[in-house]
């Protein structure tokens, strides 16, 4: 059953007026986003094949594709998780579909601009576009400016999403502090009716605040770079801009996981028949995330020895502290919710559980990398893409797929077929990731069109696994599609 569209305050462009129910809107965004992930995953496979000398790519082409893959994947995953969180919360919080439309459109336009800059202009300073490389490459100046405008659009799209979340939370719970459930600690804040925010709203509140801070920093970054682009006399300090770049880049990628946590809090209870309840521990844990996640970026600058020592040591401490809420509360709590529950094992629940494991294993690898003496031999090796693919591809993306499976409806899933698809997909995924880790331990640098040994051999093996992974992914997406059509034809929608 399609969700009814609530009557809301009059707005200029009402999504319902153009025939877009929240369900259709989310369904369309999921389709576009998942399609994009597949295409960008193919580009990933092409990069691996080139590193394994199975195909020939000019270095310039390789680095352009690397830039597109990185920027595209991060933006798309942020978009997909945001849409999933929006969907599970829009009833609770009366979020505005028109705002989501603006947000999606801005992100898609940003992606289009970045794609043109890369594919037509050959823009290729990698997705972190570290100053001054964007201005000293082989690509034309227009592509540099266009790419920065693209990034700005993606940032604006995410900011619109955060504003809408924040407004919705304040409308329903009175203040953002109550959205964070600080009223469980501070009786003075308590609402007269005693209503406290559920855990997914707490996650959304954290994301809204830190998301806006991140976008603000990202806007300063991009505006400074655009100013330098207009007038090269505009001075930029390489160390300052590096800090700003990683503050923005790290935090926005990291937030995708916190957005997903909000979705987990909502979806996992549907499969286990048990509920997450807000209490003081959840409130405290998310307050820790709120404060410490934005302080973790210095772990990207450990090898910049001129950086102030307090930032280096503080960055390690903040990174460590930021993992406590995730491991002790969200992941432990999710496993407790599953433990000896009457769990309905469907494609969606399998994907969510597998994603939690990816989050954990990638988290272990991230912690090792965030430990300074280890970082000295891991920084900028393949260990870095190894760990973040583990929790972005093997974590956040699985949550997106799990949400999609829930969204299209889990009724009458073809059990045997699904098992085969899952085995294919996960075999490819695990093999692909293991080759990244092996390369990292062997000291193979990341971001290289031509790698020292044993990079090429590992890349050959990884290419095979990528092929298996992509076959599994296509099969899974087709199965979702078929299920969506059938369930819709039967007038049934999301759920079990």
């Amino acid at each position: 059953m399609a969700k009814p569209v609530r009557v809301q305050e009059p707005v200029a462009l009402h999504a319902a007026d153009i025939g877009l129910t929240p369900r259709r809107l989310v369904g369309m965004t999921l389709s576009v986003g998942l399609g994009l992930i597949f295409v960008l995953g193919m580009i990933g496979g092409i990069m691996k094949a080139a590193q394994g000398n199975l195909i020939q790519l000019q270095p310039g082409t390789f680095y352009a594709l690397l830039t597109l893959h990185g920027a595209g994947m991060i933006s798309t995953v942020v978009l997909l998780t945001a849409v999933a969180l929006w969907y599970v919360l829009h009833d609770h919080l009366s979020l505005r579909p028109d705002m989501l439309v603006f947000s999606v459109v801005a992100i898609v336009w940003g992606l289009v601009a970045a794609t043109v800059a890369v594919l037509v202009g050959g823009f290729g300073p990698a997705w972190t576009f570290l100053y001054p490389l964007p201005f000293m490459g082989t690509w034309p100046s227009w592509s540099t400016g266009l790419f920065f405008f693209g990034v700005l659009f993606v940032g604006v799209g995410f900011a619109i999403f955060c504003f809408d979340l924040m407004a919705g939370i304040i409308r329903t719970y009175g203040s953002i502090w109550n959205g964070l459930a600080w009223d469980t600690w501070i009786p003075r804040l308590r609402r007269p009716d005693g209503k406290v925010a559920p855990p997914s709203v707490i996650a959304a509140s954290m994301v809204a605040i830190d998301g806006l801070i991140t976008v603000a920093a990202g806007s300063v970054l991009v505006v400074a770079l655009l100013a330098h682009w207009f007038s090269p006399k505009f001075p930029i300090d390489p160390l300052w801009i590096k800090n700003l770049t990683f503050f923005f880049g790290h935090t926005i990628a990291n937030l995708a996981i916190y957005v997903s946590a909000g979705v987990i809090y909502y979806i996992l209870p549907k499969y286990t028949g048990r509920a997450f309840h807000t209490n003081k521990v959840y409130a405290l844990s998310w307050a820790i995330s709120l404060f410490f996640v934005p302080w973790a970026w210095p772990h990207h600058l450990y090898m910049d020895f001129v950086q102030a020592p307090w930032l280096q040591v503080g960055g390690e401490a903040s990174t460590y502290i930021a993992t406590i809420p995730a491991t002790v509360v969200t992941i432990f709590g999710s496993l407790l919710l599953v433990y000896r529950s009457d769990m309905r094992w469907r494609p969606g629940s399998t994907l969510f559980l597998a994603g939690i494991l990816g989050w954990l294993v990638g988290g272990v690898a991230a912690m090792l990398d965030a430990t300074i003496p280890f970082n000295a031999v891991l920084h900028n090796t393949l260990w870095v893409p190894a760990h973040f693919h583990t929790y972005l591809l093997g974590g956040v993306f699985l949550f997106v797929l799990g949400f999609t499976s829930y969204f299209v409806g889990e009724r009458q899933t073809p059990g045997r077929l699904v098992k085969a698809i899952e085995w294919t997909f996960f075999t490819g995924l695990v093999g692909f990731l293991l080759m990244f880790y092996a390369g990292g331990i062997e000291g193979v640098p990341r971001r290289e069109a031509v790698q020292p040994p044993p990079g090429p051999i590992l890349a050959d093996i990884a290419t095979g696994f990528v092929a298996i992974l992509l076959v599994g992914l296509v099969a899974m997406l087709i199965e979702f599609w078929v299920r969506a059509k059938r369930n819709a034809a039967n007038g049934e929608a999301e759920g079990l």
């Binding site: 270095p59 300090d237 993992t323 433990y339 000295a376 040994p453």
Partner: protein, 191 residues
């Protein structure tokens, strides 16, 4: 294959064992759903376990943090440990090579002062067997100081470890390391 030793070995063992532990715990939870039970019955045990896990995890973090403070690669941590006076070597990275001496002595403390003439680069030291031993960033307008002692003679490789443009993966060069004493005079001239 590059030999796995030193820090890399420690990292690999830690990652494998920690990942194995979490995976086993995870699979155990997944299997437990074959014997469903009321949530109330498991919840209080769960909360007690969570408290224990919180303490264990917190202690691990504190220990790891304390240990790493003393092994940081920064000048302030390394200078204190250095006994012999260091030989100063300036390194300037460009798109796409390093300007630096082509040979240096083994077993002598070397103070690399690293900067860049254009974009960000990385300065990575690889052993003759290909093991990554140390690195520091090469940034325009700044000088990063890396203290390093080559453990023995041989042909080391200096490799760029920060993406710096089209020639990035070709940005590497050999560095001859000899037993100190034999060519000491030529080094002090170069350095």
């Amino acid at each position: 294959m590059v030999p796995i030793e030193g820090r890399q070995l420690a990292i690999l063992l830690l990652w494998i064992s920690l990942s194995a532990i979490v995976t086993v715990a995870f699979l155990w939870v997944v299997r437990s759903t074959r014997r469903p039970r009321d949530f109330d019955a498991v919840q209080s045990d769960g909360y007690r376990l969570r408290r224990g896990w919180g303490w264990v995890y917190g202690s691990l973090l504190i220990i790891s943090f304390a240990v790493t403070i003393w092994t940081m690669p920064y000048a302030w941590a390394q200078q204190a440990a250095a006994k012999s006076p260091a030989i100063t070597v300036e390194v300037v990275a460009h798109q796409f090579s390093f300007t630096m001496p082509s040979s240096l002595p083994a077993r002598r403390l070397i103070k690399f002062v690293v900067t860049s003439a254009d974009v960000n680069h990385g300065f990575g030291i690889y052993s003759p067997q290909g093991v990554l031993l140390a690195q520091v960033q090469a940034m325009p307008d700044y000088h990063n100081v890396l203290y390093f002692t080559f453990p023995g003679p041989g042909t080391y490789i200096i490799r760029c470890l920060e993406y710096c443009g089209e020639g990035h993966s070709a940005m590497q060069q050999p560095l001859k390391v000899y037993v100190s004493g034999s060519q000491a005079t030529s080094v002090s001239k170069e350095a």
